[in-house]
């Protein structure tokens, strides 16, 4: 869904419950949500969500820290923290590892928790390292093609195939009961 004021994706969805004409939902990107919240469009009592956002935005206002953080880049998918903040979407599973300490306060703000207590996959096939390596190799191959380094790209392709077909990457599931 796009932001109501620009073309960027809406990452904040606020339901206003105190409007006399009934509940109203606004969909905004990060930039416009700041504006929206600071305009006093969010009357006192709109509840936890607006407060959480306001708190989070304030948290982010320590400029120097923010500038440094924004440059942080995931070695696997190459996304910067700035790009994540802008789109509101992470680039790959490894982001949760490499941005862990930066994501934790955000998760606590959103969910009020940072530890998953629910369901877990029963078996894990292949190692996380292997998975991350695959993502990284695919990106490097894409970059190599973009630079017209076809020899390098074909080397990478072989490596990817090799990893994909490695027996440890295969599911070792017990026969169905």
């Amino acid at each position: 869904m796009k932001c109501q004021h620009c073309e960027k994706p809406a990452t904040f969805h606020i339901t206003e419950l105190t409007k006399p004409e009934g509940p109203k939902v606004v969909h905004l990107c990060e930039e416009h949500v700041r504006e929206y919240l600071s305009q006093g469009n969010s009357p006192a009592g709109t509840g936890a969500l607006a407060n959480m956002l306001a708190k989070q935005l304030k948290l982010e206002q320590t400029k120097e820290h923010l500038a440094a953080l924004d440059k942080k880049t995931c070695p696997v998918c190459n996304i910067t923290f700035a790009a994540f903040r802008q789109a509101g979407r992470l680039g790959c599973p490894y982001d949760y590892v490499c941005f862990e300490s930066d994501l934790e306060p955000l998760l606590v703000n959103i969910h009020g928790a940072q530890i998953h207590k629910g369901k877990r996959p029963t078996r894990v096939a292949g190692s996380p390292d292997q998975h991350h390596q695959l993502i990284q190799l695919r990106r490097e191959m894409r970059d190599a093609v973009a630079r017209e380094e076809y020899e390098r790209a074909s080397e990478l392709r072989d490596k990817i195939r090799e990893l994909e077909n490695e027996p440890t990457a295969e599911k070792k599931s017990p026969p169905e009961a």
């Binding site: 969805h13 969910h111 530890i115 629910g118 369901k119 996959p121």
Partner: protein
């Protein structure tokens, strides 16, 4: 499979037969899942999206062997077909509007679907008629287990199932219940009710139509957080909140009946009259009046119309459905005419409608 075959059928969740189905239209649960060895969808290029779609499709077909499944390449469908699937709630607007290789596996009884390359690699969803969250959870849990046997899900020891957006991480679970709350809207109590729910970690959204207006007095209640509580706790939380809303709606309906039955009876009868006689009608207007008629039928003020017929009309009078049912594309003006015809075909008592549409039942 041709989508036309689906068009005339009534989705499982529209049966109107589940618990509390006078007020609760449907219970829906979705799980967001991603593959461990691929970048998230937005970060994947065309080739990667292709590989993901191919892989997921083949694995779902293995995992769900024995179910009557159909897989649609959403990127190869026409705009009309995509819109049709959105109206039927089989795919999201986001999947319809995304770019690149993407698809949906649909169970032919329309009890579950799996979207591929939406915001996450997989979005599994189960819909049931009425308030039936526990069964919906059991069902989706089983499907998830089966798919997990075939694919490597991205999972983190602390953060749980990893998702593109941090608001879905952990369980990846979204429980939502669609409610029909016309009496709370008429009595202007709806804000008060929703305000009282704010502290309970649920989000409330109105349902949109073609425009951006709230339509047909439908509201969706869902869990706000996904990380921390277990799936059972999240389901239980929504399951506890919904009966309170149902109770408020029932009391508001009772109040309307007691305080001004003639006014209410007049209002719903006029709405029914318009639907049965209009020569052209927009989908917004249709939703507005169908909503009133639905309440009228629930309160016994209108007879001769079955709930399942009304539930179906809410979906079948939407633009893409109407065009699918009529077999060709229609301009807005033609749609409004066809919509009026379609409503009258289904609302006016006919003696030749066959056994399933017996006007004397109910």
């Amino acid at each position: 499979m041709k989508l036309e075959e689906l068009a005339d059928k009534c989705s499982e969740w529209l049966r109107g037969s589940g618990p509390e189905s006078d007020i609760v239209i449907s219970s829906r649960i979705r799980l967001a899942r991603n593959l461990a060895e691929f970048a998230f969808v937005r970060r994947a290029n065309a080739e990667e999206k292709n590989s993901i779609a191919k892989l997921v499709r083949s694995k779902i077909e293995i995992a769900m062997d024995g179910h009557e499944l159909v897989y649609l390449d959403v990127d190869r469908l026409s705009d009309l077909d995509r819109q049709f699937l959105v109206e039927r709630q089989l795919i999201s607007r986001e999947l319809a509007e995304n770019e690149g290789s993407r698809g949906v596996a649909i169970d032919l009884t329309e009890q579950f679907s799996v979207m591929v390359n939406e915001e996450d690699h997989l979005r599994i969803q189960v819909i049931r008629s009425g308030l039936d969250l526990n069964r919906a959870w059991e069902c989706i849990d089983r499907i998830d287990d089966k798919i997990e046997k075939e694919l490597n899900y991205a999972f983190h020891d602390d953060f749980g199932y990893l998702t593109a957006c941090p608001t879905n991480v952990g369980t990846g679970l979204r429980v939502s219940v669609m409610l029909h709350l016309p009496a709370l809207v008429i009595t202007r109590e709806i804000d008060k009710v929703f305000r009282s729910l704010q502290k309970l970690n649920v989000a409330v959204r109105g349902l949109y139509g073609e425009g951006s207006q709230f339509m047909g007095d439908f509201y969706q209640v869902s869990n706000q957080i996904t990380l921390g509580p277990t799936e059972h706790e999240l389901v239980a939380n929504v399951s506890e909140v919904v009966p309170r809303i149902i109770d408020y709606e029932r009391r508001a309906r009772e109040f309307l009946v007691n305080e001004g039955e003639k006014d209410l009876h007049d209002d719903v009868s006029r709405a029914f009259g318009i639907l049965c006689t209009a020569k052209k009608i927009s989908s917004e207007e249709t939703m507005h009046y169908l909503s009133k008629v639905r309440m009228g039928v629930n309160l016994g003020l209108i007879s001769d119309v079955e709930m399942v017929t009304l539930n179906k009309l809410f979906v079948h009078t939407q633009p893409a459905h109407l065009q699918k049912l009529r077999g060709h594309e229609l301009s807005v003006t033609d749609r409004n005419i066809e919509r009026a015809n379609y409503l009258q075909e289904h609302l006016l008592p006919k003696h030749n409608q066959g056994p399933t549409n017996d006007p004397n039942s109910n």
